[in-house]
Chain length 356, copies 2
């Protein structure tokens, strides 16, 4: 049979707890569908700094490189915040994206109906909101040259934002493809009235657009997009943008759904390989208490099934199980209205496994 | 008597109509308070491209340089969108900021109680929201070197983000000062976990902070800020950030108030000189119909009075007049719930003048 290798990177904070529940769900799909998974664990982030002296140890990278997909919990915490750059969890995150060629970050901003009231937006504004932010992940100002120098007015710092045609083409094509499978609307976000990289970006988008005649394209300036996400979130289908703008807009989009504790994301390269992780962070304040919400990580498994393995039926079973458990009123503390009735991480995981 | 010179730049689209009403208000303050204003008009933006072949004619710049303050309507429109860079209205905007040394953009995001329902946020989330975004306006990626070159993977575009210590110091100090006159909370927004310019920014903020011991400082990463603005807008007082982040966050903040048609902004340099303009754009779709909302531009006059002239009493009279007219139920089309009862630009201006 077809054995899928999954690299498991639990990471820091609540990472290990939520990944633990996701692995139970994974196991359950072996029973239900006869799949075979081989998991290998790797150290990454703060814990890797502590134990190996680097956020991304070579052996962890190799585990990922040999795998068909990576499941990541979360990394980081105050303990490492004041470390020098090379010894910070974020540096590992940027390093793994680059090393694995994960040029595309897919962030669905889905509204869970039963959590709608958790949003700060009016429910009627959220009606029909179901969008995906496709963020370029290995280029732009994140990876351009950075340095300090003495200038005419004292010390200065420099960051460089670079994009080449090839980098823009591959992410834009992917976004058009995704839009084609959905409501067929693509918003390309840039700052073409100011930035040269944005003008290149827009040229490439306009050149590729005729290949996707059934997808309706709009160009939106990044400042305007930050506003329109608030004003008319439901009107967006797929948003494609460069690395820095995508960082900001995908978080804004996630927050407006009210479901940020529930959202999963995929980082993809060429081919079917992908890294899957919850959108939320490592939440060091509640780590180890057994109260964190494992749903985003469990849904990351479903996303992995869909995008890397083509296991659509099993993905649906996981997603339906989550929905049923929520509909039955079960909540972890972060999403509970009545906190006294909140259940723990393990209980939530068990309920979802049982509902599958 | 002290004659104040005001450069008036009506600009494009609805610019001339809304500026016209603001000038009526200005005139009324001469009557009421014995002020003397000398206004001189300059061409700027699209209309200057059409009539003078450049968005920022030298004579307009000189009118501004001789003035004590500038009142700007709005610039731009689809007519000029596909022009080459030198012939675009935005280029004039960037040029005038640089030429006049306007390094600071002050954008209050105020919730008008009577317009609260216009926000897409829940009213209870907006309760108490009253924040100011202080955006650095003449540095960063907006003004760094930009170019195309042939790279290993084909054509590439480059933008450079540069900040020196002096540039950061002056804007951060201003933000601390402003926070000191308000609720004494400053959020400095950066992306210090990725950008070198942000690390410099944060260093400068931390070095200056002890000079303002009564102001509570927090550092917020830009992606997190985009979320927190949605989750807890009322918890912010003053937000200070670099040019590009400020562009995005100030628009997000403005939109969440639901009052975007009502917001004014100031761009300041050293000393008391400033440029004042509504936050909204030139709205070419409704230009010339006499239906635009002049309130943001009228409130820009009040902001000019406060920040450039120290005419606080007159500013208050203008602001109260606006409030009274709104409380009496008068609305232009953009903010009217019942559009059939909407009044026009001139009628709104007249009502405000009468209420002063
Ligand atoms: C931790 C940080 C470097 C990272 C980013 O900015 O890409 C994070 O915000 C994210 O979005 O995954
Ligand atoms: C028109 C554009 C260049 C400008 C900017 O980005 O600064 C505008 O968005 C603004 O905020 O005043």
């Amino acid at each position: 049979a077809d054995v899928k290798k999954i690299a498991v990177i639990a990471g820091d904070g609540i990472g290990p707890e939520v990944v633990g529940e996701a692995l139970k769900v994974l196991k359950k799909t072996e029973e239900l569908f006869g799949y075979q998974f081989e998991t290998e664990h790797g150290l990454f982030g703060g814990i890797a700094i502590d134990e190996k002296g680097t956020p991304l140890p070579q052996e962890t990278l190799e585990i990922c490189q040999k795998a068909d997909a990576v499941l990541l919990g979360a990394v980081g915490g105050p303990k490492w915040d004041n470390n020098s750059k090379e010894l910070r969890p974020e540096t590992g995150l940027l390093g793994i994206r680059k090393a694995l060629g994960l040029f595309s970050n897919i962030r669905p901003a889905t509204v869970f109906d039963c959590l709608k009231e958790a949003s700060t937006l009016k429910p009627e504004v959220l009606d029909g909101t179901d969008l995906i932010v496709v963020r370029e992940l290995t280029g732009g100002i994140y990876f351009g040259e950075k340095f300090r120098r003495e200038g005419a007015n004292g010390e200065e710092a420099v960051d460089t934002c670079v994009y080449n045609v090839t980098e823009v083409e591959r992410i834009v094509r992917q976004a058009f493809e995704i839009a084609g499978t959905r409501r067929k609307k693509l918003a390309s976000v840039d700052k073409a009235n100011v930035l040269e990289t944005s003008r290149l970006w827009r040229e490439v988008v306009n050149r590729i657009a005729p290949e996707y005649p059934d997808v309706e394209l709009e160009h939106v300036l990044v400042d305007n997009c930050a506003m329109q996400l608030l004003r008319r979130p439901a009107s967006f289908d797929v948003i494609v943008t460069e690395n820095m703008f995508g960082d900001i807009l995908s978080d804004e989009a996630a927050m407006l759904t009210g479901s940020i504790g529930m959202l999963s994301s995929a980082s993809l390269g060429e081919g079917s390989f992908g890294l899957y992780e919850p959108v939320h962070g490592s939440a060091p304040d509640i780590a180890g208490q057994g109260i964190s919400n494992p749903i985003a990580t469990i849904l990351s498994v479903a996303l992995m099934f869909r995008l890397s393995f083509g296991y659509h039926e099993a993905a649906q079973v996981i997603e339906d199980a989550v929905k049923n458990v929520l509909d039955a009123g079960h909540r972890t503390g972060d999403i509970a209205v009545d906190k006294s009735k909140a259940i723990g991480t393990t209980a939530m995981g068990d309920l979802i496994v049982a509902a599958m």
